[in-house]
């Protein structure tokens, strides 16, 4: 039982990261029907930004400021990617945009390699790591912070999307672009905003991921990016709640597999799951079963 609870907490930790990253996939898909394969690289750059801000400046930035600044830089990067590479392809066949996204992903990996080199940077945790005792369990502060901050940001996002005017405009654009234009909504700005938010949350996931595994390197976004994408599909691509749910489920499935089966099986099971979902419920857990409008 104790092992189980410990693994559950680990699962929530990994799941928080996948959920944060999955939100970016699902939001971008919701608004322009594109799987942004460069999203894992935004996650990676977010981690590098945090590293640079935390360890290369001559003065010490508070932890929260490091996080917020890294998220902001990642947001700018995400908006730039959309404006430069994807915007012109909005009317193009899906496959062209998809290939561009894959190209962008590889471009960013190699750009990071040019700038930072391929030797991993060691990412020290940005907060002290003494465990906190909670219900008789010693839980690392980092784990608590990862779970807590992730949930906080997801609540903020939900409030934004459901209750604020720009959030409603975002949903309007994702449901009917032409009608949104007729309402006076600047669709280009709403799409940029979507990339900004998705990228900022992806960067936060990247920072937590780097702190959890203590390493940063140019291809670090590939595997968690793919798994977060699976989480988004699992939850129902296009659904923000689905991405959160899918992220936590994949995180928990992964840690439980590691603990009770074998760590060798983790990727087999997670990727196998993707195939099973695509075969039996392509719309995901919370996805709408309606046929896609083109």
């Amino acid at each position: 039982m104790e092992l189980f609870i410990r693994q559950l907490i680990n699962g929530l930790n990994t799941g928080s990261i996948y959920a944060l990253v999955a939100i970016g996939y699902t939001m971008v898909y919701g608004i322009i029907k594109l799987i942004n394969f460069a999203h894992g690289e935004i996650m990676m750059f977010g981690a590098y930004f945090a590293f640079l801000l935390a360890f290369t400046l001559s003065f010490n930035l508070p932890f929260l400021l490091v996080i917020v600044l890294s998220m902001s830089f990642a947001a700018i990067l995400g908006v730039l990617i959309e404006r430069v590479a994807y915007k012109k392809l909005r009317q193009a066949p899906r496959i062209s945009a998809l290939i561009t996204a894959i190209g962008m992903s590889l471009f960013l990996q190699h750009l990071a390699q040019l700038i930072f080199g391929s030797t991993p940077y060691v990412m020290k945790p940005l907060i002290d790591t003494t465990p906190v005792v909670l219900f008789n369990f010693a839980i690392p502060k980092l784990t608590l912070l990862t779970i807590g901050l992730s949930i906080l940001f997801m609540l903020l996002l939900s409030f934004f999307v459901l209750k604020t005017k720009p959030g409603k405009a975002m949903r309007a654009v994702s449901q009917d672009k032409e009608a949104a234009i007729l309402m006076g909504i600047n669709v280009d700005n709403v799409i940029s905003m979507t990339f900004a938010i998705g990228s900022a949350l992806g960067a936060l996931g990247g920072i937590f991921y780097a702190m959890t595994y203590s390493q940063i390197y140019p291809t670090m976004g590939v595997l968690p990016g793919l798994k977060a994408f699976i989480a988004a599909v699992f939850g129902g691509i296009g659904s923000i709640g689905g991405a959160m749910l899918g992220g936590y489920l994949i995180g928990i499935i992964e840690t439980m597999t590691k603990a009770y089966i074998s760590s060798k099986w983790v990727d087999v099971i997670v990727f196998g799951l993707l195939i099973v979902i695509l075969l039996f419920k392509p719309s995901g857990i919370l996805g709408k079963n309606t046929k896609e409008k083109v």
């Binding site: 007729l182 309402m183 909504i185």
Partner: protein, 234 residues
């Protein structure tokens, strides 16, 4: 108020609108009738800047509309209710109406306009927390019109508001259009239901394969033999 001069629109090689001229005077209901594929929707989209014209000019209150981006047209008082309603299916009725007032910041006036819409369409108030995708076709049409009114438009462009509605609802919608006009909104009404459209409008233009073939006062066209034969037979 709205003036279309020598309008040409192409879709690739297809010449959809071939030199159309017409005018809508302030306070009028003007109708554009024509059968499937005549180019009615294309003309409304060109006015709203949703598609580019290849030649000609469209002015509203003496200002050329081509200087505006598509999302800016609504700000100068042009509201377009598109063919097929296009309500936001996943937003509630209330949220849809809020989107109609998207660019406005005058909270008090928006509230008043919302009340006016609810007075005109009591069904919408009853269902204000319902998701728009689950409304009936008639209710969706009312929502689409109500949403456009939330912009407080000077002119309302309506693309086949009677499409797919039961006869009794068609009558209701046309009554509502008349009421909206009587409360001061100019209307450009695109219709295939020529009979009803001619009965409530002041002026009419008949569009055939991208060209205007007939125009005049609506009550005259109602008695025109060619119109009777082609559009009022049913």
């Amino acid at each position: 108020m709205l003036k279309v001069t020598n309008l040409h629109v192409h879709y690739g090689v297809i010449h959809a609108i071939k030199g159309v001229n017409f005018e809508v005077n302030e306070g009028d209901i003007v109708t554009l009738i024509g059968s499937n594929g005549a180019g009615k929707t294309t003309i409304l989209k060109a006015i709203s800047q949703l598609i580019d014209k290849s030649d000609g000019d469209i002015t509203f209150l003496d200002k050329s509309l081509s200087q505006y981006k598509p999302h800016e047209v609504v700000r100068i008082g042009v509201s377009h209710v598109p063919e097929g309603r296009h309500v936001f299916p996943g937003l509630t009725v209330l949220e849809n109406l809020e989107m109609g007032a998207y660019y406005r910041n005058d909270k008090v006036a928006i509230k008043q306009d919302l009340q006016k819409v609810f007075v005109r369409f009591p069904r919408l108030e009853e269902r204000k927390h319902q998701v728009a995708g689950t409304l009936s076709g008639g209710e969706q049409q009312m929502l689409a019109i109500g949403r456009a009114l939330m912009n407080h438009p000077k002119i309302l462009l309506l693309d086949e508001p009677s499409m797919g509605l039961a006869p009794i609802l068609v009558k209701e919608i046309f009554n509502i259009i008349q009421e909206i006009n009587q409360s001061g909104t100019t209307i450009l009404l695109v219709e295939q239901n020529a009979n009803q459209a001619l009965q409530i409008s002041d002026k009419a233009y008949v569009l055939e394969t991208g060209q205007i073939t007939l125009s005049g006062l609506s009550k005259e066209l109602l008695n025109n033999d060619k119109v009777k034969a082609a559009y009022l037979s049913a």
